[in-house]
């Protein structure tokens, strides 16, 4: 009996001494989908991934991958997962090809099969030219690609990617996204962690935001965005006097003002009517607008508003 959830985590807890890193995490990932685990530094993303990939013991709860318990059936779990950890784990003195073949053999591929598959991956990941150079001569992006290629050598049905694009330039990031998208098309189940909301937005079917070892929100990118709020019209004025008259003219429509930068934001329910009516109101009171922009909530807003308390604390600490 195979359940629909390839990864199932219930009430997962983990502490290092008195440091409670995970305080009861629940996750479910359906077959062939991607879950993005989003959270600030120290939220517990890597800890979760390490537990799921059998590298770390946990204290409480239950964790299964493909129906196998990660503690009791660790070997079975290892046979179905691929892991790309946060720091690249390739052998620097071996060439890219040697890395791939060795890992393939350790995954129990025959020598011939490992070699053929290595060549295929080198081609897919644009590493053919560098294939026979030691990995220590690779750039950060190449190393990251090799790292991912290594974890795909035996085409495991489940892949863990811990911040696969951190430290990559925009171009390498796009290349990595393309690779990941292809992987999703092939039906692989993926759990990805990231600090980039755009990445989660672009790739994931479902997003779980964790902070301080707890799930603080989950849903699709759109669901999370709608949680944070509606579209807003951002208006900038020349000075505080103009801002004051604008606030009077707009009345209840004003959601927020910034007296330092002379901006006001207006909530928009319907973009066809609300923008013009706001501008009309300003025109009637002879207030001129310097600039304006319609602002749609991004996942960044979600991230900042959900993890706001934590963020505030860290910036306070930095100020001291």
């Amino acid at each position: 009996m195979k359940n629909t959830y390839v990864i199932e985590v219930k009430g997962l807890t983990k502490s290092y001494g008195s440091n409670h890193v995970l305080k009861g995490i629940d996750l479910r990932v359906e077959r062939g989908t991607m879950l993005a685990l989003l959270g600030p530094n120290g939220a517990g993303k890597t800890t979760t991934v390490r537990i799921l990939s059998t590298l770390l013991h946990y204290d409480g709860g239950s964790v299964t991958v493909e129906g196998y318990d990660v503690t009791r059936e660790a070997d079975k779990v290892r046979g179905v997962i691929g892991l790309t950890g946060q720091s690249a784990a390739v052998d620097e003195l071996l060439t890219g090809r040697e890395n791939l073949v060795m890992m393939g053999r350790l995954y129990r591929l025959t020598a011939q099969s490992a070699k053929a598959r290595a060549q295929e991956l080198l081609e897919d990941f644009s590493l053919v030219e560098a294939a026979d150079r030691p990995a220590k001569t690779y750039s950060g992006g190449m190393r990251r690609r090799l790292d991912l290629a290594v974890s795909l050598i035996a085409t495991p049905p489940v892949i863990f990617l811990d911040e696969p694009t951190t430290g990559l330039d925009p171009r390498s990031r796009l290349a990595m996204w393309a690779i990941i998208k292809k992987l999703m098309e092939s039906g692989t189940t993926i759990l990805l962690t990231t600090q980039y909301l755009e990445e989660a937005d672009q790739l994931a079917d479902k997003i779980v935001v964790i902070d301080g070892g707890k799930v603080i929100a989950e849903g699709t990118a759109n669901e999370l965005k709608s949680k944070v709020g509606k579209d807003r019209l951002e208006l900038t004025f020349a000075n505080s006097k103009a801002l004051e008259s604008a606030v009077q003219a707009l009345g209840k429509r004003v959601a927020d003002t910034n007296t330092k930068e002379f901006t006001a934001s207006v909530t928009i329910q319907d973009i066809n009517t609300d923008v013009t009516s706001a501008l009309d109101a300003l025109a009637r009171s002879h207030v001129s607008v310097q600039s304006m922009a319609v602002h749609k909530p991004t996942l960044d807003d979600v991230f900042l508003s959900l993890t706001g308390k934590q963020k505030q604390q860290t910036t306070d600490e930095e100020d001291v």
């Binding site: 059998t54 720091s87 350790l106």
Partner: protein
């Protein structure tokens, strides 16, 4: 993913052996590609042998039994010293692995845990044997001669391999425990340096103070040196042969399980 993947289906022990062979290949490639270390493997023994014979040969020669040349006397000592120091690179290699993500990667694979340690200790046998070979060739070039027969040579090679393996596994413990490569160097210096110098590697026991001599003549390294020396010089081997083998097997019996246990404990948690 056009490729059709073919998996092997071996029994567990066979699979564990395949894993170890793969790790031996990996560590051997490390040795070959690590230029600086490889140069050391070649030139350090040459340098030591030439320095010792030319600097101390005259003075120590007087304390040696009649008819024994320092070139022949030194050979066993300098081989064992080189092996003892050479095996510390096992610790460095393991420490390096532990600090990088690579051990995590290995552990997320369905492979045998012990294979990583096996790879380093066994590939070190190759490197150390190479050092020994270089030294013997250097010796022969400057006039080292031996009466050792073919079977004596087999004995010498056996002792070399056994001793290197034992020291590499001891070294593996250091590699697993140490927090940094500097830590490894410090630890091995404190252990290996006194053990090799407070032995009969370079001078006969008769020339030492009584306390030092008592220690030097009964410690494992001396047994290994004296056994090898007897085979080279064609003198009676006494109990040194047995003692050398027993010490080495003893070290292996302790260090393999300890290193493995520590490795498992340090890498999961």
């Amino acid at each position: 993913m056009a490729q059709e993947l073919v998996f092997e289906k071996h029994s567990r022990p066979v699979q564990a052996m395949v894993d170890s062979l793969l790790m031996i290949k990996r560590s051997s490639l490390h040795i070959i590609r690590n230029r600086d270390q490889l140069l050391g493997t070649f030139f350090q023994p040459i340098m030591f042998y030439l320095l010792f014979t030319s600097v101390f040969g005259g003075a120590i020669g007087l304390a040696l039994p009649d008819g024994v040349d320092y070139k022949e006397f030194l050979m066993a000592g300098i081989i064992v010293q080189t092996l003892a120091f050479g095996s510390t690179t096992t610790a460095i290699a393991i420490c390096n692995d532990m600090q990088k993500g690579i051990v995590d990667r290995f552990r997320s694979l369905p492979m045998s845990n012990l294979a990583v340690l096996n790879g380093h200790t066994i590939s070190d046998l190759f490197r150390n044997s190479l050092s020994t070979l270089v030294m013997i060739v250097t010796g022969l070039a400057i006039g080292f001669r031996t009466s050792a027969s073919f079977t004596d040579w087999l004995g010498i090679i056996g002792i070399i391999l056994l001793f290197t393996l034992a020291f590499s596994w001891l070294s593996a413990i250091v590699g697993v425990v140490a927090k940094s490569v500097e830590g490894v160097q410090w630890l091995t210096f404190v252990i290996v340096f006194p053990l090799t110098f407070a032995s009969t590697a370079f001078v006969p026991g008769e020339s030492m103070t009584p306390v030092l001599r008592a220690f030097a003549e009964n410690q494992p390294i001396t047994h290994v040196i004296e056994a090898m020396r007897a085979l080279i010089l064609g003198t009676p081997i006494g109990n040194h042969g047995w003692m050398a083998v027993i010490w080495c097997l003893g070290m292996l019996a302790v260090s393999i399980p300890v290193a493995t246990w520590l490795f498992k404990r340090k890498t999961s948690g």
